[in-house]
């Protein structure tokens, strides 16, 4: 499946782009409405970009009454990204989403670099949401942890159905003249090509550590980038920053992905799944 990274597409502002995806992932929804952070909120860096949007969203009440009914009309499976500031926030929203058949899955954003991180661990949040909903739960993890395998295993143990890897990691850009931070809040989340090797490592590590399906994302700009994520152990891939530069990216990447797989001798890109791990696999089997 090809998805968008949460927060990188407004399906209502660009429905044609959303329809090019296999599922649309919403911007993170929190219990209460949020305006987001003080501008400036984006800055290009040498090999990526920083954002400090700060989970701007209408809050769960307005999301359910005003946004979800419109999103349902898109005819694309919907994943709702859920955020919060304590475990109960996630559980409350998961419970409310449970009644909506149009919601295919819930992504738990336990790793936004632009707001105060919940003190509870990712596993506690997953466990609380698990009690609140029967929907598939995908835990979106940060690579900026000492041992992502440990976090992934704990999320699996708590009832996660999959992993979204990875969220942005915190970065800083200074104005060339004033040497003051460019972004209003100071620091922001780094995305784009700079993140790709970090994301690939996280996918490969979590593939080996858990049996959970993975949505791989972080700097995917081409079909070959996407194929690398599949080879590292991602069942699905998501595009984020590249959508900003190219709203036609989903169709293009899909085409390139098939071509890149065929060029390397696979019938479909799915055949390349976990190919990066094959050497150790053959060592184990011989």
């Amino acid at each position: 499946m090809l998805l968008n990274a949460s927060g990188c597409l407004d399906a209502l502002a660009a429905p044609a782009v959303a329809r090019g995806l296999d599922a649309f992932v919403t911007k993170t929804v929190t219990p209460l409405p949020r305006d987001g952070n003080t501008p400036v909120r984006i800055a290009e860096t040498d090999f990526g970009m920083l954002n400090s949007i700060g989970l701007a969203n209408p809050g769960i009440d307005r999301f359910l009454t005003s946004y979800l009914p419109q999103l349902e009309l898109l005819g694309v499976p919907l994943w709702v990204s859920v955020g919060g500031f304590e475990t109960n926030d996630y559980a409350e929203i998961a419970l409310r989403l449970d009644d909506y058949p149009s919601v295919s899955a819930i992504e738990l954003n336990v790793s936004c670099p632009n707001v105060d991180t919940p003190a509870e661990s990712a596993a506690e949040i997953v466990a609380a949401a698990r009690l609140a909903t029967r929907k598939p739960l995908w835990a979106k993890l940060s690579p900026a942890v000492p041992d992502i395998a440990e976090v992934a295993c704990a999320a699996q143990g708590a009832g996660a159905d999959g992993l979204s890897l990875v969220n942005t990691i915190r970065g800083l850009k200074l104005d060339e003249q004033t040497l003051r931070p460019v972004l209003g809040p100071g620091q922001g989340g780094l995305s784009g090509p700079a993140l790709k090797p970090i994301a690939l490592a996280a996918v490969a590590t979590c593939y080996r550590a858990t049996a959970l399906p993975i949505v791989g994302m972080g700097g995917i700009r081409t079909g070959l980038d996407a194929l690398e994520f599949v080879a590292a152990g991602a069942r699905h891939v998501a595009v984020g920053t590249t959508l900003f530069a190219d709203p036609d990216a989903p169709a293009r990447i899909r085409m390139e992905l098939h071509a890149a797989a065929r060029d390397r001798g696979w019938n479909t890109y799915e055949d390349a799944y976990a190919a990066a791990h094959e050497e150790s696999l053959s060592l184990r089997t011989t």
Binding site: D10, A14, G36, R41, I42, A43, T241, F244, P247
Partner: protein, 219 residues
């Protein structure tokens, strides 16, 4: 909105600025004040640039080379190709009785096209130097101010102001002309509502300039 790869027809200096002219292809020129996302060679993100002129079968953009993206756009050669997405956002409301165009610095960029569409109404444009003021030649009937004179020193009363320029200028224009249409500017990653990066706070409300602007009523 439509995205196409267009070729550069000319890249002409206008004072310290550059007028980048590209083939129009199948892209609509849109309404004055709307903008386009221009692929900046070698950069990750495109740059939001309002349309300056719409010659037959061309789109022309006035660009100030102030950063790596705009510098790369200004160094494009004839025949080079770049992706262009647009037209985007909300332009000026052209249904005005007594238009007065007001621009400051690179903020004059949308005024030549606006002037053409409104049949060359009066205009007041301000610049920081005589060299920058060379760009005023793009706008017919323009009254030119150079600092320390400010456009707000010379704006006549009772006209329908359509303005684009730096924030302090827009704030000052707004104080004089509460009904003015103002074209704002902010860094943008996408230009079509996806990134939420171009939010600006106006009267206590955060607005995404790319979809709710860039032209907003002052009041």
């Amino acid at each position: 909105m439509r995205r196409e790869r267009l070729s550069v027809v000319a890249n002409e200096p206008v004072g310290p600025y550059t007028l980048l002219r590209v083939r129009r292809g199948g892209i609509d020129a849109g309404v004055p004040g709307q903008f386009f996302m221009l692929e900046a060679p070698g950069r990750l993100l495109p740059r939001p640039i309002s349309l300056c002129l719409a010659p037959t079968r061309e789109l022309a953009f006035l660009i100030d080379p102030i950063g790596p993206g705009t510098r790369s756009l200004c160094s494009l050669d004839v025949g080079d190709e770049l992706h262009v997405l647009g037209p985007l956002g909300n332009g000026f409301d052209l249904d005005v009785e007594r238009p007065l165009l007001v621009g400051g610095g690179i903020g004059i960029a949308p005024l030549p096209y606006l002037s053409k569409r409104l049949s060359a109404p009066p205009a007041v444009v301000g610049f920081r130097s005589d060299r920058h003021a060379e760009a005023a030649a793009l706008i017919p009937h323009a009254h030119v101010c150079v600092e320390p004179t400010l456009v707000t020193d010379v704006i006549p009363e009772g006209l329908d102001v359509l303005a684009c320029g730096p924030e302090p200028m827009l704030a000052a224009v707004r104080a004089l002309a509460p009904d003015a249409q103002l074209a704002w500017e902010a860094p943008m990653a996408c230009g079509y509502g996806a990134c939420y990066g171009c939010a600006v706070e106006i009267d206590g409300r955060l607005l995404r300039l790319c979809v709710e602007g860039p032209v907003l009523r002052a009041a």
